[in-house]
């Protein structure tokens, strides 16, 4: 079939089963947008900023497990999208981002809206392409989807000059992807797996360290089975929230900088770390030389470069965690479940000593209460996204997650402005579920223009703004480590968030009591239109417990005890 490059893009997206594209048009990508106008195979959602389009595609990918797609123009369109690419790269989210480029004949001439896009995206994508001939386009798009979604997932950027989108060439999408240099290793070495199971059987205080790779691999239910069959307690990273249900008796909690005391102590006392799809991030390990100091390490990861990068693995297993866990399940009966009773008791004692909690000791609402309350009212039904800051950590700590893909947040890059557009993508992927974004008074302003997208496309995301009139997370560090010099973090000057939402056609609530909050949430869920619920919360609440930066997991700053 002889068609134009622009038509090829439409055909390829259709053949890849894409039903939603997020984007923003402009000169260099106009040929493709012209074809979008003519087709009815997928919906296009016009975000109001390219960064938001990419975050929306991330939210869509995270919630659906499919590849997210965003489309943008050259120059400023592309540079606006870079934060989204970097975010997806850090959190291993499968995306295909297609950008327009100036015509081939103008490349290198400092043409209008020309920027070396592949030069910029090289270090924040899994792979990228500059298409120089329409005849390569089918192969490149097919490779892009394959690379984005296989192995360790990630964003792939395809930059297409305007003349290439006009060029006519043969379109044949039936050729299988042939990449001699890219063959992800998905099956774990059976001998290593057997040795790992033996190590588990021999250990006295083993601990599962569950990471986001389990969610990528759609392996949460297999992991639940393995945890239950072996009786080994588990901690989760921030990215793994929802792998185990919040009420699973084997789940100790989240570990790391803002992890629970029990989770961090368990990691400090374990004699065998069983890392599944986790990458030993510095927010998790604290001081490396003290991390799980007396433990042997089993590390299952699809990316060989993750293994022994920071912590040496005694049992390295390269493979897809789903395959590996399935193999482990087959031989896991070697492990005596009752053996870890006293270890579990030790951990429970840690938890009794310093449980994860907060004090309701102020006139103002506590942000943690709000999060718990949403959990009580919406629980399982809601998909939860967040922005970045204190509210994000409280959400990870206090929301009762019960399933994988329920929690969507920017972990690796920590991108303020992620939450709202991501929630739009989540809502587009899972319209039957309520989509809630916990955000801060700082973060929400970084992509609040998305109110327009939400209204236009009827994506009724509920944004709960935990308003502390501060860039709270930074303020917390200033309070604790900079002698209370709150440099440029006071957000006393603010917009009227209710009017802001209303100005775009959304609804807004300002609440400061529990009753008001319940009523607002109930109303927002019923109204089915995008909402801002601004909750006035205690200004100086800190996220606790906390491992100070560079400290050891067992040296936590703890919540002050209060007499009941």
């Amino acid at each position: 079939m002889q068609i134009s490059g622009a038509q090829m893009v439409i055909e390829a997206l259709t053949l890849e089963g894409v039903d939603t594209v997020f984007g923003y048009p402009g000169g260099a990508i106009m040929n493709v947008y012209d074809e979008i106008y003519k087709q009815d195979k997928f919906q296009h959602i016009l975000n109001r900023h390219e960064q938001a389009a990419v975050h929306a595609a991330e939210g869509y990918a995270k919630a659906s497990g499919k590849v997210g797609v965003a489309m943008i123009t050259s120059g400023p369109g592309f540079t606006n999208a870079v934060t989204g690419l970097a975010d997806a790269y850090m959190d291993s989210i499968p995306l295909v981002v297609i950008s327009g480029q100036v015509p081939m004949s103008l490349i290198g001439t400092d043409a209008f809206q020309e920027i070396d896009a592949v030069g910029i995206s090289r270090s924040c994508t899994k792979h990228n392409y500059l298409v120089t001939d329409a005849k390569d386009l089918p192969r490149i798009l097919k490779e892009a989807f394959y690379i984005a979604s296989s192995g360790r997932p990630g964003p792939v950027h395809v930059d297409i000059p305007k003349d290439v989108t006009a060029q006519i060439a043969e379109f044949d999408y039936s050729q299988p992807v042939k990449l001699e240099t890219y063959k992800p290793h998905t099956k774990g070495n059976p001998r290593q797996i057997k040795k790992a199971i033996e190590a588990m059987a021999d250990s006295k205080r083993p601990l599962f360290y569950l990471g986001g790779g389990i969610i990528n691999a759609n392996a949460a239910y297999e992991v639940r089975e393995l945890v239950h069959k072996t009786g080994i307690p588990a901690v989760e990273t921030f990215m793994a929230r929802g792998v185990l249900a919040h009420d699973d008796e084997h789940l100790i909690g989240m570990l790391g900088m803002h992890g629970s005391y029990a989770a961090n102590m368990a990691m400090s006392e374990t004699d065998l770390v069983i890392a599944l799809g986790a990458r030993f991030d510095d927010r998790v390990t604290g001081k490396l030389s003290e991390f799980a100091k007396n433990a042997a390490v089993i590390h299952v990861d699809i990316d060989p470069a993750s293994i022994s990068k920071l912590v040496n693995a005694d049992f390295p297993i390269v493979g897809d965690v789903k395959n590996v866990v399935n193999e482990m399940l087959e031989i896991s009966s070697k492990i005596d479940v009752s053996k870890f009773e006293s270890w579990r008791e030790t951990i429970n004692n840690f938890d009794d000593l310093h449980p994860l909690t907060y004090h309701e000791d102020s006139e103002k609402l506590k942000p943690q209460w709000v999060i718990e309350r949403v959990g009580e009212l919406l629980g399982d039904d809601a998909n939860i996204s967040t922005d970045v800051g204190q509210h994000q950590m409280w959400t990870a700590q206090f929301y009762p997650f019960s399933r994988p893909r329920q929690f969507i947040s920017s972990g690796g890059l920590g991108t303020m402005g992620f939450g709202f557009p991501a929630a739009l993508g989540v809502k587009a992927a899972a319209p039957q579920q309520t989509s809630v974004n916990f955000t801060g008074d700082g973060s929400i302003l970084m992509n609040c223009q998305e109110l327009m997208t939400a209204v236009e496309k009827k994506l009724p995301v509920i944004n709960i703004i935990l308003n502390n009139n501060y860039l709270g997370m930074v303020r917390q560090w200033q309070t604790l480590f900079y002698d209370k010099r709150h440099s440029e973090t006071d957000l006393s000057v603010q917009p009227d968030f209710v009017k802001l939402s209303e100005a775009f056609g959304g609804i807004g609530y300002r609440v400061s009591t529990k009753e008001e909050f319940d009523a607002a949430l109930k109303d927002a869920v019923e109204k089915d239109v995008v909402a801002f619920i601004e909750v006035i919360v205690h200004r100086l609440e800190n996220v606790m417990p906390m491992v100070p930066s560079g400290g050891s997991l067992f040296n936590m700053m703890l919540l002050e005890k209060k007499e009941k």
Partner: protein, 158 residues
Amino acid sequence: MTENSERRVISVIVVNEASVLSRITDLFSGRGYNITSLTVAPIPDSKYSRLTIATSGSVRVIEQITKQLHKLIPVLRVYEHADLVEKEMAMVKFPITENLSDINTLCEAYNGKIVNVGENVIIAMVADEPKRVENFLKVIKRYNPKEIVRSGAVALER
């Protein structure tokens, strides 16, 4: 670099395509690895090129470098050489007024010779192990070299 930094030579076989070299050098600069020397040339009768990179780092860093290189999509193979034959070429320009027979003798000791003679300068070349080339360059200092160019190392596993 960090603890026990060691010199290492890594060969990388890559698909011969646009921007593949920048993918490699970006990886080194982006992750803070250093490149002592780098050579590239196409492998005859194939769609691949071979890069030889001399670098240095601790065992952990070198392991990360090879893994990260391998992660790049157009990279076919990465060899971290343990037992290798390594050669490098150097060319040096001398004033014609220097003692040419001394220079020639020296070159011969390092697998080289005088390759060009002009009105005012001569050009000599040597090809030897990088360490020996280093040595050669030290020795010839007294003959007032005007310009020195080194090719960077190439290597093959024994």
